[in-house]
C-alpha cells in the first residue's frame, strides 16, 4: 500500500503570522506565532489513527477540516498572558497550531472522526471498505 497519509510541510513554521487578520491583532499581541504540532500516525485494522499534541487548545477552538484530500488542523490557543513584557524566561512561543496532511483515496472521508482529550487530538481515518466481488447472473433466453 502506498502512503495513505502524508504530512505536509507547513508553509510557515514557527514564524509570526502575517495574515491580514493577525495584523489587526498585532497591536495587542505583537508576537502571535504559528507552530507545527508533533504528531504520531499509526495503522490499525480499520485504517489510520493520527495523534497530535495541542496543549492549550480546547474543543471549541479547534478547527479540523477536509477539503480536496487535504486534512487541515488549526488550533487556537488562548494566551495565558497577553502582556509579553512580563515574560522572564521563554522556551516556547505562544501561538496557534497549524498542520495539514494529504489524504489518499483509501481514506473514507465521510467516516473521519476526532476527539480531543487533555490537549491531545486523536483523528481516526478509516479505510474505504473494499468492494466485494459481485456475481452477475446471466439469464439464458
Amino acid at each position: 500500500m502506498s502512503e495513505t497519509i502524508e504530512p505536509q510541510q507547513p508553509e510557515r513554521d514557527d514564524s509570526p503570522n502575517r495574515d491580514d487578520s493577525s495584523l489587526s491583532q498585532s497591536e495587542e499581541s505583537p508576537q502571535r506565532w504559528v507552530r507545527t504540532p508533533p504528531i504520531d500516525i499509526y495503522e490499525t485494522e480499520e485504517g489510520l489513527v493520527l495523534c497530535a499534541d495541542l496543549p492549550g487548545v480546547s474543543a471549541e477552538n479547534l478547527d479540523l477540516q477536509v477539503q480536496d484530500n487535504r486534512l487541515t488542523l488549526f488550533g487556537r490557543v488562548d494566551m495565558p498572558n497577553d502582556r509579553l513584557e512580563t515574560l522572564v524566561h521563554q522556551e516556547y512561543h505562544q501561538g496557534d497550531f497549524l498542520r495539514s496532511f494529504i489524504l489518499s483515496d483509501d481514506v473514507d472521508h465521510e467516516r473521519i472522526s476526532a476527539k480531543l482529550t487533555d490537549g491531545v487530538l486523536e483523528v481516526r481515518l478509516p479505510r474505504v471498505p473494499r468492494s466485494q466481488p459481485r456475481k452477475i447472473s446471466i439469464q439464458a433466453d
Partner: protein, 161 residues
C-alpha cells in the same frame, strides 16, 4: 534593443532565494520534529508583579498523573507520557511525540510563598502561580535631605538640586 534585462535576472535570484528558503525550512522541520535535545516540558516564566506564572505544555497529562512539588524556591514537576493504547512499533508511520518518564525542576528567581501556590491544568496546559513573599517585594526607602554640617548648608543644597 537590449537582449539582457537586469529585471528578469533578479527574478531568477528571487527564485533561488525562495528555493533555498524552502530547503532551509525543511531542514529546520527535519531537525525540530524529533525535538532532540529540547527539555520536556517546555515552559515559560512570567513575572506578574505580585506573583510568578509558569506555563508548561503537558498535553495528554491529567491532573492525577502530574506530580508537582515546591521546596526552597525550586519547582519540580514529574510525570510519564504513555503511548495511547498498545500499538506495536511497526505500526507507526510517524512518531514525533515524545514518550516516557520526564522530570523538570526550575528555580524561581525570588522567594515565593510556598503555601499559596496555585496550579491549574486545562487542555494539557499547566498554569502555576507562585506568589512572592512580601519581603521579596521592593521596599520603598525614604530619602531625606542630609544635614551634615551647618557651615556649608547652602552649598549642599545647591548640589542636591
Amino acid at each position: 534593443m537590449p537582449v539582457f534585462r537586469w529585471g528578469s535576472a533578479f527574478d531568477a535570484f528571487r527564485d533561488l532565494e525562495r528555493e533555498v528558503d524552502r530547503w532551509v525550512r525543511s531542514m529546520d522541520i527535519a531537525f525540530e520534529n524529533p525535538r532532540i535535545g529540547r527539555p520536556y516540558p517546555m515552559l515559560n516564566l512570567y513575572d506578574l508583579g505580585s506573583e510568578y506564572l509558569i506555563t508548561a505544555e503537558l498535553s495528554g497529562c491529567t491532573a492525577a498523573e502530574l506530580d508537582l512539588t515546591v521546596a526552597n524556591g525550586v519547582v519540580t514537576m514529574r510525570g510519564k507520557r504513555t503511548p495511547a493504547g498498545d500499538v506495536p512499533e511497526d505500526r507507526f508511520r510517524r512518531r514525533e511525540r515524545p514518550i516516557g518518564n520526564w522530570e523538570r525542576s526550575i528555580s524561581v528567581p525570588e522567594r515565593i510563598n510556598d503555601d499559596d501556590v496555585r496550579a491549574e491544568l486545562n487542555d494539557g496546559l499547566l498554569k502555576l502561580y507562585l506568589p512572592k513573599t512580601p519581603s521579596a517585594a521592593p521596599k520603598q526607602i525614604p530619602v531625606t535631605k542630609g544635614r551634615s554640617e551647618i557651615s556649608n548648608e547652602n552649598a549642599t543644597e545647591g548640589e542636591s538640586r
